[in-house]
């Protein structure tokens, strides 16, 4: 009995760990969709680039600076990675999306897919296509349960993921709800034209959205990079699809929805792996996507779009 419960708790913890990083990436999809109504399919690649920048910072920059204090290493890596990834996010919007905005939506979609392929191959050429091992900076953890039976464990790495995700999401929520820029973001996402006519520079707000989304993807990049200990140029594709699923699950356009959708998807995956078969976890996630699109296209927290009369 105890063993079953511990096993379940273990799966829940694993699911929430993965889920919180899905949520971080999903926010980037949902914010961009909320503002300009397009799916930024290159967003998964930003996450992938985030893992590479984290790797480069940890293995190159940190030894160069001679820093050995772990929290400082993490903070510097995070800052560098968020900054550079945000620059990528900003540049993608300027180069690939802004020129085709206002045209047919399909054009922007194709442009996004092109950007995604470009970034993947650009990293492949620059960094090589083989797996790169990330150093495991955070080791150890706690175990619960009888010493002779099954023990549930919570590693420090998992705890770090929870805390980092919690702080990032709390910060974002406050930013959107309270700050002047957040207010402008909400206004632009509700009625871009009107916001422009009231003196808000909508292009700047759109850029800001891409920058924030990319910064959150970079956080996810560092966290997942350290958690899995490995990265390659192709991880962005599947992670992007998963995060997109999470965003749709929660209701695309809704930030709390993306958070909830990410956690839910992560838990679903880990439960499928644990009680069914890990080979079926992608089948279940994407099956979930199809079911949502069929039966509740607005997602869990999304609002149905009301036609303006």
């Amino acid at each position: 009995m105890l063993e079953t419960a511990l096993y379940f708790i273990q799966q829940l913890l694993n699911g929430l760990t993965i889920g919180s990083t899905y949520a971080l990436i999903a926010i980037g999809y949902t914010m961009v969709y909320g503002i300009i109504g397009m799916i930024n399919f290159a967003h998964g690649e930003i996450y992938m680039i985030g893992t590479y920048i984290s790797f480069i910072a940890i293995s190159g920059l940190i030894p160069l600076l001679g820093i050995e204090y772990l929290p400082l290493i993490l903070i510097i890596t995070l800052a560098v990675s968020m900054f550079i990834s945000s620059t990528y996010g900003w540049a993608i919007e300027r180069i690939a999306y802004r020129p085709v905005r206002g045209g047919n939506r399909l054009i922007a979609l194709i442009s996004a897919i092109g950007m995604s392929i470009f970034l993947q191959n650009y990293v492949r050429i620059a960094q090589g296509s083989r797996d790169i091992a990330m150093p495991s900076l955070i080791q150890g953890g706690w175990s619960f349960g009888p010493p002779e039976g099954f023990q549930a464990s919570l590693s420090y790495m998992q705890l770090f993921i929870f805390i980092a995700t919690f702080i990032t999401m709390g910060g974002l929520t406050l930013f959107i709800a309270r700050s002047r820029m957040g207010r402008a973001c909400r206004a632009v996402s509700e009625d871009m034209k009107m916001a422009g006519l009231l003196g808000i520079n909508t292009n700047r707000i759109i850029s800001l959205t891409f920058v924030i989304g990319a910064a959150l993807a970079a956080v996810a990049g560092l966290l997942l990079g350290l958690y899995y200990g490995v990265t390659n140029p192709y991880i962005g594709f599947i992670a992007g699809l998963k995060a997109f699923t999470a965003a749709v699950l929660g209701g695309i356009g809704s930030i709390p929805g993306a958070m909830l959708g990410g956690l839910l998807l992560g838990v679903t995956e880990s439960m499928t792996s644990a009680y069914f078969s890990s080979e079926y976890k992608d089948v279940v996630s994407f099956g979930l996507l199809i079911l949502i699109l069929l039966f509740r296209p607005t997602g869990l927290l999304g609002k149905p779009e009301v036609e303006k009369i």
Binding site: A184, K193, G196, L197, L198, G199, I200
Partner: protein, 255 residues
């Protein structure tokens, strides 16, 4: 004579093969209420959309306070001091009433992202000023008690007033109202009438108005432009327009 505040010359707007507006010219001076009237489908709203930067006109030019504006981005036009409402209410309905007024002052709190994050004293001071201005206008349009309610939950007449307040917090020189009395009851229309006159008298705002309510138009306008089938038909004081046979014909048809 000094230059007009708003000077529109030979404005035309073509949608594919349809010439919706052709050769419309108009002037608005400081502290003037100008109405644009005409039968349904005459192109009044199209003229409005061109002037306010919602459309880029295909011909003619628009000059506001000595600056050509027909090719400017929408937010730059409003920063010059021209702001408008639409025929149907376009509030940010998922934001609260006061947030609607704060977001319209976005440009007044001209600070960078960092000072916003760290809430520097100068940022706080400017933010406080925006709140004060918002509260002032909420009082003026009798909406203060609804300040923290979602704008979408207000009654229709209240939403109309909030829209005007939202324009006024941007401190415009020219306010453009597209059928502000549409859907209002007689009492609300009378209040609107008083509000518009007070905006001109007390806040030195010029007003460009599209309206079907002839009592309102004739009562408050300094001058009136009549447009018919996209072309200018007549212009003059309310009395001149009332007596103009062409205008009567356009409205009532051949007698």
């Amino acid at each position: 004579m000094a230059e007009s505040m708003l000077k529109v010359r030979d404005l035309s707007m073509r949608f594919g093969g349809l010439l919706a507006v052709n050769g419309v010219s108009l002037d608005v001076e400081e502290r003037e209420i100008i109405s644009v009237i005409g039968p349904n489908g005459a192109g009044k709203t199209t003229v409005f959309n061109c002037i306010s930067g919602f459309y880029t006109p295909t011909g003619g030019n628009i000059n506001y306070k000595g600056q050509e504006i027909h090719a400017l981005a929408d937010y730059k036009i409003s920063r010059l001091g021209m702001v408008r409402t639409f025929q149907h209410v376009r509030l940010f309905s998922q934001m609260t009433v006061i947030e609607n007024l704060l977001v319209a002052q976005h440009r007044h709190v001209n600070t960078n992202l960092l000072s916003g994050l760290f809430k520097t004293p100068s940022y706080r001071k400017k933010e406080q000023k925006s709140i004060d201005r918002a509260v002032y206008w909420l009082k003026k349009v009798n909406l203060l008690e609804f300040a923290n309610r979602d704008a979408g939950n207000l009654a229709y007449g209240q939403q109309r007033r909030l829209e005007i307040a939202r324009c006024m917090v941007t401190e415009p020189g020219l306010l453009m109202l597209d059928e502000p009395a549409a859907g209002l009851n007689p009492k609300e229309t009378k209040e609107l009438d008083e509000l518009i006159v007070s905006l001109k008298e007390d806040y030195n705002v010029s007003i460009l108005l599209i309206e079907h309510d002839m009592n309102l138009v004739m009562g408050i306008s300094d001058r009136i432009y009549v447009i018919n089938q996209g072309q200018p038909l007549a212009s003059g004081t309310p009395d001149e327009i009332r007596a103009n046979p062409d205008v009567i014909k356009a409205y009532l048809g051949e007698v």
